[in-house]
């Protein structure tokens, strides 16, 4: 077996290239200058083989700050030396093991992060949101409000986006009726911030809540509602969002999700689809939970102020029509039937006191009738 031969040595202190004699001993390799002076003696256990193009064996010292290098171009000498050096990764086994470890570690990390996304993020948002100052939430609401108004105000006939702002007696009556309804619900809710409720000129059967206690009731909802309890039920649900600070929570949850999906995971070419899919599924899951909680709050509130808590469930069933076109895991609200059932379970038999007189209810329904 060859134990001596030629090599090239860089001592790590200068860039000088030295032709050297290499001598493989029992536990170390000796590097000597042509004149016989010993330049280095490297123990086999300290030596690390390094990546080089085919045809060159390059060795360095593991854990050394200086980058001294020994290069051997003689195939047999290189083979003899490699037989002593540990770990000899002759078949790429160490490489493969490292890769398997990395993949296993990554999958564990992914499982942890997804678990964090499912349970940790909403839990953290729940805990943090109540401690954030109300003023911050009001500012957030003001910022979102501008954008929402721009997006929703589709009127081209010059009518104001907000209904019931006129000076006529009917506008005044409608405004008073709405204020009375809101006041009785707000009184029962015990909120930490004042509500700002408006009826807006939109044909959709919907109502939205922005951070900072802003609730927009769409005119389409008033048109479609058969009783004041149905409108009050929807308002109670929206007040539930305000009480639970769902706007702030949703901002926190979005931030948490962006950290998990986008910064920590999914950063590779083509990962965009994975990020979007992951975020969508999780966000709608958070949202479904928040909606169910708001339903519960609304039903209890309705009972407290003497409205009919079941009206919301019936109303939802009536307007839901042909839902089911969207798969359940992509729904941000639970299905109407599910919601009606849940409300029926929560709500006790109602004392059914009228929240508004029939005249007031009639005035409220016509709140958007004039400019």
């Amino acid at each position: 077996m060859t134990t001596t031969g030629d090599g090239i040595f860089y001592d790590g202190r200068t860039s000088d290239r030295r032709k050297v004699a290499v001598d493989i001993g029992s536990d170390a390799v000796q590097v000597s200058a042509p004149d016989g002076a010993l330049l280095a003696q490297w123990r086999f256990t300290d030596i690390a083989p390094l990546t080089t193009p085919a045809g060159v064996l390059r060795l360095g010292l593991a854990n050394a700050t200086a980058a001294a290098r020994l290069e051997i171009h003689d195939r047999t000498l290189a083979g003899a030396l490699l037989a002593h050096v540990k770990p000899t990764d002759r078949t790429g086994l160490t490489d493969r093991r490292t890769r398997v470890k990395v993949v296993a570690f990554s999958l564990a990390a992914i499982a942890t992060l997804i678990g964090g996304a499912i349970w940790g993020v909403p839990l953290l948002a729940d805990r943090i949101a109540p401690h954030l100052p109300v003023a911050l939430e009001m500012r957030l609401g003001a910022a979102i409000d501008m954008e929402v108004r721009q997006a929703l105000d589709s009127s081209t006939d010059g009518k104001a986006f907000e209904c019931g702002t006129g000076d006529s007696s009917s506008a005044l009556a409608a405004r008073d009726a709405f204020a009375k309804l809101v006041a009785s619900l707000e009184g029962g809710a015990g909120l930490s911030l004042p509500l700002r409720t408006l009826v807006v000129r939109r044909p959709d059967v919907n109502a939205i809540t922005l951070p900072g206690g802003r609730i927009y009731v769409f005119n389409g909802l008033l048109t479609k509602a058969d009783s004041i309890d149905e409108v009050a039920g929807v308002l109670g649900h929206e007040i539930g969002h305000v009480a639970h600070r769902d706007g702030t929570k949703s901002v926190l949850e979005t931030a948490g999700l962006s950290l998990l999906f986008g910064m920590l995971l999914g950063d590779f070419t083509g990962g965009g689809a994975v990020i979007v899919a992951g975020k969508t599924v999780l966000r709608t899951a958070y949202s479904r939970a928040a909606e169910a909680a708001a339903d519960e709050f609304g039903a209890k509130l309705m009972y407290k102020v003497g409205g009919d808590p079941h009206a919301l469930g019936a109303f939802l069933l009536r307007i839901s029509g042909k839902s089911g076109a969207v798969p359940h895991f992509l729904l941000d609200h639970p299905q109407a039937q599910e919601r009606a059932d849940a409300i029926a379970r929560i709500a006790q038999p109602s004392p059914a006191r009228a929240l508004l007189t029939p005249t007031e209810w009639g005035a409220l329904k016509r709140i958007c009738a004039e400019g």
């Binding site: 860039s15 195939r75 002759r90 490489d95 993949v103 910022a143």
Partner: protein
């Protein structure tokens, strides 16, 4: 590539070149095998998909090891000593820095909410500044992990100063529609190279902005002139009084109506046409511009007395890109055929269990899942082609175009102590400003 491969082929390798005389320039060689890189990239792409991107630190490390080890200067290859664990830790530390920054930017945008557009600009500038800072520090990391002849490179200078300098240059670049960019590039390269060291040997940059300007002005003119012509033509036919009235009303619809013009004058059409031509020409000339800048940049590199010259040909760049287009075309065809077969057989196999005519959770889950998987495979496939056929090829072409004169300056250089952390790399990765 394993160590065993090296040993097995050692017999075929030529003995190392004897150092040439200082006067004769030395041409650099690219000694890597494309097949090895293909294997590395395909495996890396698959593992990235499985690990949702976490594998990228290991892949980037492998890529650099390969590219460094494939670059040979006078019989001696470069060596990359960085590790994936360093990159991973650097990335996690960068997340720790960036999350508070993002949170602060969010709160700031609420505080100054009235001018939300302005706060978006502020956020963009802050993050872009971070990006420049990160790019400089990432360069330091890569240099300190580059070993040649038993010595490390390193980089001095201040990343903050570099970031400020880079951002200030954006102002003249924006004002001159990019005409100032050769001088900006020169200035920044000077800063980088002045702070680059091989052992105790300092670097410098000899490229001149005027020279790059003269070489690239034709590309600039060809790209920008359709846009400017379109602007001028549109300005000539636009109904200015009507435009002023529309702006007064502040109504977007009427502004669009003015831009739409009448049947004879179509300002919007002319504008869009000019812009589209500019984009198209920019797309076609991009490889040429890249090659011009690369050749100029390589020709300006100095390390002590050693000077680089480059005879890079533009057609090599076009060759790489055209080959990439061809590969993507073939890949797309193959992907559609294989994908179609798998879709068909999957449908046949699942038809018994799932009613595909009615909306249901399993149906939509299966559909969405297969769509995402197909998308990831296709995009990752294209990106792998790009990495090998374009990125590696351009590296190879650049290396092979380099001639170093007075290489003797690199003899007898003394080592200096220098290390650096991978936080810059992590920041650059998180901000998307990283590079190989």
């Amino acid at each position: 590539m394993t160590i065993a491969d090296c040993v097995d082929t050692a017999a075929d390798a030529a003995p190392p070149d004897t150092p040439s005389l200082p006067s004769s320039p030395v041409r650099l060689r690219f000694v890597g095998h494309r097949g090895d890189y293909w294997r590395l990239m395909i495996r890396g792409g698959a593992l990235q998909a499985i690990t949702l991107g976490i594998y990228r630190f290991w892949l980037f490390t492998d890529m650099r090891r390969f590219l460094w080890a494939s670059t040979e200067v006078e019989g001696e290859t470069l060596e990359y000593t960085g590790t994936a664990a360093e990159l991973l830790i650097g990335f996690l530390m960068a997340i720790g820095i960036l999350v508070p920054v993002y949170a602060l930017l969010f709160v700031a945008s609420l505080e100054f909410g009235m001018v939300s557009q302005l706060s978006a600009i502020v956020a963009f500038v802050v993050l872009a500044g971070f990006g420049q800072y990160a790019a400089f520090r990432a360069r330091r990391y890569r240099l300190t992990r580059t070993v040649f002849r038993g010595l490390r490179f390193h980089q001095g200078g201040s990343a903050v100063r570099y970031a400020v300098r880079a951002m200030l240059w954006w102002i003249p670049i924006a004002i001159t529609l990019g005409l100032a960019s050769p001088w900006a590039t020169t200035n920044l390269e000077r800063y980088k190279m002045r702070n680059t060291f091989y052992g105790n040997l300092g670097g410098s940059f000899a490229g001149s902005g005027g020279r790059l300007f003269r070489r690239s002005i034709l590309v600039w003119l060809l790209v920008v002139s359709p846009l400017l012509l379109g602007l001028a033509a549109a300005a000539a036919v636009i109904d200015w009084p009507a435009a002023a009235r529309a702006l007064d009303r502040g109504n977007l619809t009427s502004v669009i109506a003015v831009l739409d013009g009448n049947d004879r004058t179509k300002p919007a059409f002319i504008l869009l046409g000019g812009a589209a031509w500019s984009v198209f020409i920019g797309f076609v000339l991009y490889p040429a511009y890249q090659a011009i800048v690369m050749r100029w940049w390589l020709g300006g590199l100095r390390l002590g007395g050693a000077a680089v010259a480059s005879d890079l040909r533009i057609r090599r760049y076009y060759g790489a890109y055209l080959r990439y287009l061809l590969y993507v075309l073939l890949f797309s065809i193959a992907f559609s055929i294989v994908g179609g077969i798998m879709l068909g057989s999957g449908y046949m196999a699942l038809r018994g269990q799932i009613d595909f005519d009615r909306t249901s959770l399993p149906r939509d889950g299966v559909a969405a899942g297969s769509l995402i998987v197909a998308y990831v495979i296709y995009i990752l496939g294209c990106s792998t082609f790009y990495q090998v056929v374009v990125k590696m090829r351009l590296w190879q072409v650049a290396v092979e175009s380099m001639l170093i004169s007075s290489l003797g300056a690199l003899d007898h250089v003394q080592a200096t102590e220098a290390t650096s952390s991978a936080v810059g790399e992590g920041l650059a990765d998180a901000l998307g400003t990283g590079s190989i």
